[in-house]
């Protein structure tokens, strides 16, 4: 195993970050740079009657909808959000205009003098209201088997409902973007995951071709989806500002501002109707998924799709109907966040199975095992599980590591253990990869190789892993393999850095190209090899009926969480999480373990302390004093193991890994809390306030 690709190597991005040399967007200054600050809607839903602007001192500008040369919409899946508000505003925090100038003090002074008159309208603040009013952005459905007939067939029917809350990314650095218009070209610099998404949006807004646009990623910290589509908005805003002013324009959000106006994880409600046969097996299942998309549809349709296609988790139900709806509310728009809709539906599925088992007097794990998907069986969308499913091995390992079987028997009150089984569909949903057709280039230059991809390093270790794949194939030392700067003028579009697709899809292309380059190594000193993504031939997908293979393959996992509940305060102490994953082949065990630990911790946060409640469209927790994420003190012992199960089309057999660990933590913890207190848990976050109401204490 010495030369195994999995053997850890030092992270290539670590020295600069540890020494402080790494320049994040907030560290960069341009000559003659201006600052920009956004003026935002203070209303959840209103018409804009008038905007009274003060006289501007010299060198100061107001930039708004009238300054946009092209289309005033942010390009994404549904391009419905204006770059700057027009006649109406639909959420608190919606951008209306920028004040731009050299001194931030003066900018604030100008902002204090801008008077906006609104005509308030009736807003919608939650899913119930939205459903009542029929405020639906998107509705999809699909089915498998004969659910209607099955429900008529004398099954025992159980209905249930699950809720999950908003979650803020709390990425490392707040959103930040700069634009510099020079040489007839718009240069954009910023913190982002998807430079070509920004480029696409800029083309619409500027009305220019990509030849006049360069998007350059500055060093970006862990972003978790929060810098997937949102930076397209700020990139367009600063670009328009730079065009108008003729100066470089820098816009950095304060953390509070960032929390108020940026995308979050979709709050969800998932309702089930389960039909059980005489052996208490779930034979038929109807799932109704509701996501709060917020004020604009944006990327939400695809988030909903992943939520729907993951809705049955690791189980096979013969008769299934799934309905999914994105609702429009006047909350801040929801967006991409690690797991992309799947964590909500899998949490709910796992808790449904857990709660059904308890109700039936069956051990939850045994009950889950009775329903497991196996190789060759149909997926929920009628595709096929093509590859080996190692769940039995995963379950055996995780139960042994955690001593689950003994603990579930012997734990006293206030001590709980819970298990979650889960999967994650690798790469883009449906025909996403075929649409994007990711492209990569490898260039041999003497004894070194440059790889050109648009997959970005954002703290997850992508650069290390991608270079490692190439270096390992070509038997070159890491230093001889470098990455081209993330600059849309210099790199091909290998797709966005999302959907856990970087290692498997982009890394897979690099692996193929490296093999070709290896064969041709002695041809010359300058060789360029490129690859464009091709979907494996055996996969089928119909995007109109949602039938077929929604994902090329799946990664799998199981978590066992152990908790103690304080009998007086109802505080949850997560003691240990044991985790086993099948992500194909680990490309670097240390980097991968880091991803797993981080995902678990983020999942713990979502399940417990991360409370975010909008009150009339305004977030009550809008800074890091009130919105809490786990600290190092809150991180439990995490035992993490991998089961190798190489995937034919992944580099060295690697599958997806980045989102998977997030998915399992919350249901495992919820199951453990349920076990500790002998109460069904149906909502997250599980707060002490909520538990206090459930806990029957003698007072």
């Amino acid at each position: 195993m010495k030369d195994s690709i999995s053997k850890p190597i030092p992270r290539v991005d670590a020295p600069a970050k540890i020494s402080g040399e790494a320049k994040y967007i907030g560290d960069i200054r341009f000559k003659n740079q201006l600052f920009a600050k956004t003026v935002r809607s203070s209303r959840a839903k209103a018409g804009i009657v008038s905007i009274v602007k003060p006289e501007l001192p010299e060198g100061y500008f107001i930039v708004d909808k009238d300054d946009i040369p092209g289309i005033n919409r942010m390009r994404t899946v549904v391009s419905d959000q204006p770059i700057f508000a027009e006649e109406e505003v639909n959420y608190i925090g919606q951008p209306i205009l920028l004040v731009v100038g050299p001194e931030r003090e003066m900018i604030y002074d100008i902002i204090s003098k801008i008077k906006i008159k609104y005509r308030d309208e009736t807003p919608i603040f939650n899913l119930d209201e939205a459903e009542e009013k029929g405020a639906v952005f998107t509705e999809y459905s699909y089915s498998k088997g004969k659910p209607e007939a099955a429900f008529q067939d004398g099954l025992k029917i159980i209905e249930d409902e699950y809720h999950t809350g908003l979650q803020e990314h709390v990425y490392l650095e707040p959103q930040g973007m700069a634009a510099e218009y020079r040489d007839n070209t718009m240069f954009i610099y910023g913190s982002m995951q998807c430079p070509f998404y920004a480029e696409g949006a800029l083309k619409d807004v500027l009305g220019w071709g990509s030849d006049r646009i360069r998007v350059i990623q500055s060093i970006t910290g862990g972003a978790f989806g929060g810098k997937e589509e949102f930076p397209s908005l700020t990139a367009c805003q600063v670009a328009v500002a730079s065009l108008k002013t003729g100066h470089p324009v820098m816009m950095i959000y304060d953390r509070d501002e960032d929390i108020i106006c940026t995308t979050k994880r979709h709050p969800s409600i998932v309702c089930y109707k389960a039909g059980l046969d005489r052996k208490n097996q779930v034979i038929a299942l109807a799932i109704d998924i509701k996501f709060d998309a917020g004020a604009y549809s944006g990327i939400s349709p695809v988030v909903l799709q992943r939520g729907m296609f993951s809705a049955t988790g690791v189980y096979n139900f013969p008769h299934l109907s799934v309905r999914g709806r994105n609702f429009m509310t006047n909350n801040v728009p929801s967006g991409a966040y690690r797991g992309f809709g799947a964590p909500q539906t899998i949490f709910s599925m796992e808790m449904l199975m857990h709660n059904l088992a308890i109700k039936l007097g069956i051990d939850p794990l045994d009950y889950k095992i009775r329903h497991l998907l196996e190789r060759g069986e149909p997926t929920c969308t009628g595709g096929k599980i093509w590859d080996e499913v190692k769940l039995p091995e995963i379950i055996e390992k995780v139960t042994a590591m955690s001593d689950y079987r003994r603990k579930i028997q012997s734990n006293g009150k206030y001590k709980g253990v819970g298990v979650a089984l889960f999967l994650h569909g690798c790469g883009f949903t449906g025909n996403g990869e075929q649409l994007i057709k990711g492209k990569i280039i490898l260039k041999k230059n003497g004894g070194t190789v440059i790889l050109k991809v648009s997959s970005v390093e954002m703290g997850q270790g992508a650069e290390t892993c991608l270079r490692k794949i190439v270096a390992h194939t070509l038997l070159l030392p890491m230093e001889k393999v470098t990455c081209e700067t993330i600059d849309t003028g210099l790199i091909p579009d290998s797709g966005p850095t999302v959907a856990s697709r970087t290692t498997m899809i982009v890394g897979g292309l690099l692996r193929q190209a490296s093999l070709e380059l290896k064969d041709r190594w002695n041809e010359s000193d300058n060789i360029e090899v490129s690859r464009v993504y091709r979907h494996p031939d055996y996969l089928r997908w119909d995007n109109d009926t949602f039938h077929g293979d929604a994902y090329p393959t799946y990664s799998w996992g199981a978590n066992v969480a152990e908790v103690e509940i304080d009998p007086i305060t109802c505080e949850i102490d997560v003691k240990k999480v044991s985790a086993v994953y099948d992500v194909g082949t680990p490309i670097d065990e240390t980097t991968l373990t880091g991803q797993m630990q981080g995902g678990i911790v983020q999942g713990i946060g979502w399940a417990t302390v991360e409370v975010m409640n909008p009150s009339k469209g305004k977030l009550k927790q809008h800074n890091l004093t009130d919105y809490k994420i786990p600290t190092s003190m809150d991180i439990p012992e995490i035992a993490c193991e991998f089961i190798e199960n190489p995937y034919e089309f992944g580099p060295f057999g690697a599958k997806c890994a980045g989102e998977l660990p997030f998915v399992g933590a919350a249901p495992a913890i919820a199951a453990a809390v349920s076990n500790a207190l002998s109460v069904p848990i149906k909502n997250i976050p599980i707060t002490p306030e909520y538990l206090m109401e459930l806990d029957k204490h003698e007072d």
């Binding site: 931030r104 003090e105 950095i252 501002e257 809490k628 002490p688 306030e689 206090m692």
Partner: protein, 281 residues
Amino acid sequence: MVEGFRPADLREALEFRSQHPSIPIAGGTDLMVQKARGFALKPDFDKPLLFIGHLPDLQQIIVENRQVHIGAGVLLSDLIKSDKIPAVFKEAISLMASPPSRNIATIGGNICNASPAGDTLPYLYAVDAILVLKSSQAERKIPVGVFITNPGKTDLASDEILTEIIIPDKKFGVSYYRKVGTRKGMSLSKASFTGLADIENSNVTDIRIAFGSVAPTIVRSRKIEASIIRKPVSEIKTAVPEIVKKYAPLIRPIDDARSSAAYRKKVSLRLLEDFLRNLAS
């Protein structure tokens, strides 16, 4: 334009304070957060700052006549390290903020900030801490519970500095502290409970009970405490519901971004109950 003054010693500081309206700043961990206006902007100070965090005069801990004199500028981390500070007080302090914040935040700052969630306060109320306030002309001593008047409000005069906190050099036979935050570190109290007692010959000879974060200021009732003193511990158990009932109206928490009034109240009374039951066993 905000000016700042960094005095060489306490005398200079008091001199400056007598001559200028000013804002004393020690660690700045409350002030800089409260007055922050945003990235690259000057904080919102309307008066000159008087830096006092570096003054050695304010950084001593001295034991004298069975009293501990704590300089107002003593760092939270130094309190934790000191062998002159009672363990239960250290426990409360070690649950405040985070190690880096505790390396700059001071006890005087926590008191003068006068937040109902200030975590040094319940203990200081419980032991009847006396505060020493100095101006260039005079010195006065005042109980902490009189000094703090309302959330964020104190009796500090514009020419005064809090120089010293005096607590009894005494260890209670029973001490109990719980902080309820959202997470284990870097968390402001949703509620906190401090209970101290002495028991001699199976009788309660002294008892102090203080609640944090559940009313405009720290809650302590000498009257209820007096009703417990001299009770045999054997009677405490049966008296628990009655004592809890007496405290209930004093606990008047609010709903906010961190928790609910209902939870705060319930948890406070449960902690009280737990403390009393522990006394009895």
